[in-house]
Structure formats: structure tokens, C-alpha cells
């Protein structure tokens, strides 16, 4: 809808449209929050993998050093 089309709407219709839009926005926000929470739950389901990652502190450090050195050479 364009601005001109809005101007042709009655105040009552405009109020109704605002109400509908707010309700849709709330539903979309709710859906977004739900997806975020689902993603977080699914990430926690992989906690064992993250525990393993924590074990590799030294190799993490070496990977990092290698990356820094490579960048320096370039």
C-alpha cells in the first residue's frame, strides 16, 4: 500500500489496520523468540562436543599462533 492509498482510508479502517499489524508483529516476534530458544536448546544438546573442544586448549593456541604467523608472512 502506498501513502496515497492510506490517505483514502477512513480513520476507523486505519485503526483496524494498525491493530492487525501490531498483532502480526507480535506473532512474528514470538516466532523469532521461539526459534532463538529452539536454537539455544539444540546447541546445548551438543554440550559433549563443546566439552571436547575445551580439552584442546593447547592445540587451539597452536592453531592461533599458526594463523597469526601466516598473516604476518603475507
Amino acid at each position: 500500500m502506498t501513502n496515497d492509498e492510506y490517505e483514502s482510508l477512513s480513520t476507523k479502517k486505519l485503526k483496524k489496520l494498525i491493530k492487525q499489524t501490531k498483532a502480526t508483529l507480535n506473532e512474528l516476534k514470538e516466532e523469532m523468540s521461539k526459534r532463538k530458544l529452539d536454537n539455544q536448546h539444540s546447541e546445548i544438546d551438543h554440550l559433549e562436543d563443546h566439552m571436547e573442544e575445551v580439552e584442546h586448549g593447547f592445540s587451539n593456541f597452536m592453531t592461533f599462533l599458526k594463523d597469526v604467523m601466516d598473516k604476518k608472512k603475507k
Binding site: 530458544l37 546447541e43 546445548i44 593447547f58 592461533f64 599462533l65 604476518k72
Partner: protein, 387 residues
């Protein structure tokens, strides 16, 4: 489920149960050894200094020196639980509590190196590295800030020592609520302490007490490392349940969950390092990770409290006092810094700023780690010695 598969799963779960039971037995044995080794350090330190422990640690009476010792020792062995347990043992051997308090504070800073190193593993993906590094260094900023606030206050007014002392006196020192009569730890740990004392005397009569301290430190380190590894395996399921329940429930639940998980795995480094990949993936925001990290600070104090139970006799009250100082300090820091909105935001802003510049120039991350945890403390020791 078919009958065959039921039989199959039954035969599979039996060895698992046996394995779990054995793992718990190993943990119980290691906790016993941990408690005994704290007693060994206390006895060794007392014997080595012949009651003059305060003189031996004269160089650390400067609180900044104590702080630096705590930072360096923890950063090198990457375990604050080990360092705080050793400190409890040293206090039991005569190290003054006021000398030990800055060391405990330093251990808090030193332990943050572990999750910072874990965050370096995300170096290949720019955005991921920025988020991971920020989630790790928010812990550093918080702990440095806590020391900046609490150390001067402690030097001037000793509130932490006073509160720790009050409760320690209440639990083990006073006449009314004393548990002295019920102390079964001393007879329980005596055989191990006696065994290593005899062994130390057999090796060398001259340095027997120093050997006893060395054995104690070695056993504490090994016990805490193995306990941590076993608990990680055994408690991962429980940690998952706690984290699932904490999602979307606000910061207080996050702090409590972080503390409980740390108690379960007996390592704040494990809890804070676990948060790094969760933040790195972008699924959890820094604001959500932050309370878990603070909870880890509180949960980690359980090890020193456990270590303090090893001590009996006249120094038991001081050993418990320093363990309680650790608890009171970390709890107060969370209440003060996280409780005040303007203070709460400082570690987040600091971590985001550092992560941004470290993402652009990776060498800064390396400089930061070497500088904060090793070079700066070493330089401060040098400067302190000069003046």
C-alpha cells in the same frame, strides 16, 4: 522394543553401570587424597618454617606481590582450584590470612586464561572469533574490576577477612557451634599424611618437610585434574538439564546455574570455557553468557571449602577463614558489580572493545594474553622489588 534388543541393551547397560560406579569410587578416593594432601601441605609448611611461616612469606606481605603470585601460579597451572587449595594448606601451616587474601584474588584473575585460550581456537572465522573472544574476556574484565574495587577496601578495612573470620569462628572456633568434637577428618587422613611424611624423611632428612609440601602440591594437582576429567563425563547430562532449564529465565537463574554446574564439575575453567563455543556460534549473546561466567566464580569456591575441612587443630579456623574469604569475595563482587547497572556494563563494553580490535589484528590477542597474565605480573614483581 523387541526381546533381543532388550537383552542387548541390558547387557550393554550393566558394564556402563559398573563403569559409572568405578568412576564415582575413583572420585571419592581422589577427594580423600585431595583432603589429605592439603593436610600434608599444612604439616610440611609448619615443619619447614618451624612456626615462622610469616617470616618466610615476608616478601608477600606487600598485597600486590601476593596478588601477582596468585595470578602467575594460576595462569601457569591453569587451575584456580589447585592454587586455592594450596593456599588453604599454607594458611593451615601458618601463612597469615592477610597475606593469603590477595593471592586468592590473584587466583581469580589467573584462572581466566583458560577460556581465553579456548576462544583462540575460533581464529579462522572472523565473526565467530570476535564473539568467542569477547565471551572469554568478559570474565577477565570482571575479575580485574573486582580486584580493583575490593583489594584497596580489604587493605584499608579488612571486611572480607572479618566476615570470613566471623563465620569460621562460628563453625570451628567457638565453644557453642564448634564441630571440633565431631572431627573425623584428622584420623581419616592421618594414614596418608603419615605415609608421605615417613617417605619424605626416608628420601632426605634435611629437606623432608619441603618434600612433603611438594608431594602435597603434586597430589592436589593430579587429584583436581582427574576429578575434573571424570566429573566432566559424569556430569555432562546433569549440566545439560540445568542449562536447558536456565534458558530464557533471566540473569539470576544464569548465575545460579553457572554456580551449580561449576560445583558439579569442580572447575570454573570448564564452565567458562563451555560458554565460549556457545557464544562463538552466535546462538547465545554475550549478555546471556555473562551471568553463567559470574556463577562459575561463586561455584569454584567449593573446592577451597572442601580443602579446609582437611585441617584440624588450632589453624583450622584460619584455613576455613581463607576459604570463606574466597566465597564472600566472589559473592560480594557479583552482588556489587552485577547488581549496579552502570558497573555491570563495564566488563561487557571492555570485552567487546578488546574483541573488536583483536579481530582486526590477531597479534593483539596474543599480546593481551602474554601481557596480562605473564609480562605485566613479572614487571610488577620487578618494580616492587626495586622500591
Amino acid at each position: 522394543m523387541t526381546e533381543t534388543s532388550q537383552i542387548h541393551s541390558g547387557t550393554e547397560s550393566a558394564p556402563n553401570t559398573v563403569k559409572t560406579v568405578l568412576q564415582w569410587l575413583a572420585i571419592a578416593t581422589l577427594v580423600y587424597l585431595l583432603i589429605s594432601s592439603v593436610g600434608m601441605i599444612g604439616a610440611g609448611f609448619k615443619g619447614a618454617t618451624k612456626g615462622q611461616a610469616a617470616d618466610l612469606f615476608q616478601f608477600a606481605t606487600n598485597p600486590f606481590m601476593g596478588l601477582i603470585i596468585g595470578i602467575l601460579a594460576t595462569a601457569m597451572i591453569q587451575s584456580s582450584s589447585t592454587v586455592t587449595s594450596i593456599i588453604v594448606g599454607l594458611v593451615a601451616g601458618g601463612l597469615p590470612v592477610e597475606t593469603a587474601v590477595p593471592m586468592i584474588m590473584g587466583a581469580n584473575i589467573g584462572t581466566t586464561i583458560t577460556n581465553t585460550i579456548v576462544s583462540l581456537g575460533h581464529v579462522r572465522k572472523k565473526k565467530e572469533f570476535r564473539r568467542a573472544f569477547a565471551s572469554a574476556t568478559v570474565h577477565d574484565f570482571f575479575n580485574v574490576m573486582a580486584v580493583a574495587i575490593f583489594l584497596p577496601i580489604e587493605i584499608l578495612f579488612h571486611p572480607l577477612s572479618a566476615i570470613g573470620g566471623y563465620f569460621a569462628e562460628m563453625f570451628v572456633g567457638g565453644d557453642n557451634m564448634s564441630v571440633k568434637g565431631l572431627n573425623f577428618i584428622k584420623p581419616a587422613t592421618k594414614p596418608v599424611i603419615d605415609l608421605f611424611t615417613d617417605l619424605s624423611h626416608m628420601i632426605s632428612e634435611n629437606i623432608a618437610y619441603f618434600l612433603l609440601i611438594a608431594f602435597g602440591i603434586l597430589i592436589i594437582f593430579m587429584a583436581i585434574t582427574v576429578i575434573g576429567k571424570l566429573l566432566k563425563k559424569l556430569m555432562v547430562g546433569r549440566a545439560k538439564v540445568i542449562m536447558h532449564n536456565a534458558i530464557g529465565k533471566g540473569p539470576v537463574t544464569g548465575i545460579i546455574s553457572g554456580a551449580v554446574i561449576t560445583v558439579l564439575v569442580q572447575s570454573s575453567s570448564t564452565t567458562t570455557s563451555l560458554m565460549v563455543p556457545l557464544a562463538g556460534s552466535g546462538v547465545f549473546r554475550l549478555k546471556q553468557i555473562y551471568p553463567f561466567t559470574l556463577g562459575a566464580n561463586i561455584g569454584t569456591t567449593i573446592t577451597a571449602l572442601l580443602a579446609a575441612t582437611a585441617i584440624s587443630g588450632e589453624t583450622a579456623v584460619f584455613a576455613l577463614q581463607i576459604a570463606l574469604v574466597h566465597l564472600v569475595y566472589n559473592t560480594s563482587a557479583v552482588l556489587l558489580i552485577y547488581g549496579i547497572k552502570s558497573l555491570r556494563k563495564i566488563p561487557i563494553r571492555g570485552a567487546l572493545w578488546l574483541a573488536r580490535i583483536a579481530t582486526e589484528r590477531k597479534a593483539i590477542a596474543l599480546l593481551y594474553i602474554v601481557g596480562i597474565f605473564f609480562a605485566l605480573p613479572a614487571a610488577l614483581i620487578f618494580i616492587t622489588n626495586q622500591f
